[in-house]
Symmetry: C2
Subunit: 152 residues, 2 copies
């Protein structure tokens, strides 16, 4: 699991760097599909990852409002901040709690820790696929997302 | 790993069903980004998955030509056919060979079996994310891709 988290974080940081030269207008413009804009997609990935990890830890959900994080720098800072905590969690013996059932405030059903970790991973990769289409529609190069052959 | 393969296969089959009412023109039309058309994306996912699995098994790469599989039925048949073999492979003790190094004909570097399996999984999820944008651009509902809460 850790490998996928580290892959996602590396790809996410490459997308943050890719965003750097873009105007706020391009980053925030509402696009067709996904959750809307490029920046909101990155914010959403971060928010979803952190919310599920907190739920696994039995911590209450922290609601973050995109209006307070609607610049590239703010979203990147949020990503860095949450990552420290998530990294600490992944350093614990996650395997031991894999089959534990978790109840989250935003869903009726309960899910195992293992399924939640799968969900977080697939969620980010899916949304990054969406960014890759929007980047080409903007006539910009896209970020390579190969898992094998990445420079670490 | 198996969980992710099964998730990808389920989502893929839902996209095949989603494609059913679409005309050949819509399925084959060249789109911006990704590898091109909707149908070629599905073909590409299947081809890449099978090629890497064959490489892990030390089997030679089978070159499949999209010109010979450019209808929905043919691509779906290819997916079903390869899946039987891939499923058999996943039923073997894959954990035992995880750290084995593999040389593939289309790349200079060598990769571990474990990294290749990660690559196959991320590759499909990424391309499915692209299909989700194109579906919305066609004004069509997209396939839900949540890992948790799926109907099996």
């Amino acid at each position: 699991m850790r490998k996928f988290f580290e892959y996602n974080w590396q790809v996410r940081d490459e997308w943050f760097a890719w965003c750097q030269p873009l105007t706020a207008d391009k980053l925030l413009r509402e696009r067709i599909g996904g959750v809307g804009s490029i920046l909101y997609t990155l914010f959403h990935i971060i928010d979803v990852e952190y919310s599920w990890i907190r739920a696994i830890q039995g911590k209450e959900d922290l609601i973050v409002n995109f209006n307070e994080y609607n610049s590239l720098e703010q979203v990147k800072r949020l990503s860095d901040k949450y990552r420290v905590e998530i990294n600490e969690f992944l350093n614990t013996d996650v395997d031991r709690i894999k089959s534990q059932s978790i109840k989250v405030p935003w869903d009726q059903a309960e899910y195992t820790v293992d399924d939640i970790l799968h969900h977080i991973i697939a969620h980010e990769i899916h949304h990054i696929g969406q960014l890759s289409i929007w980047s080409r529609e903007l006539n910009l190069e896209t970020i390579p997302v190969n898992f094998v052959g990445r420079k670490i």
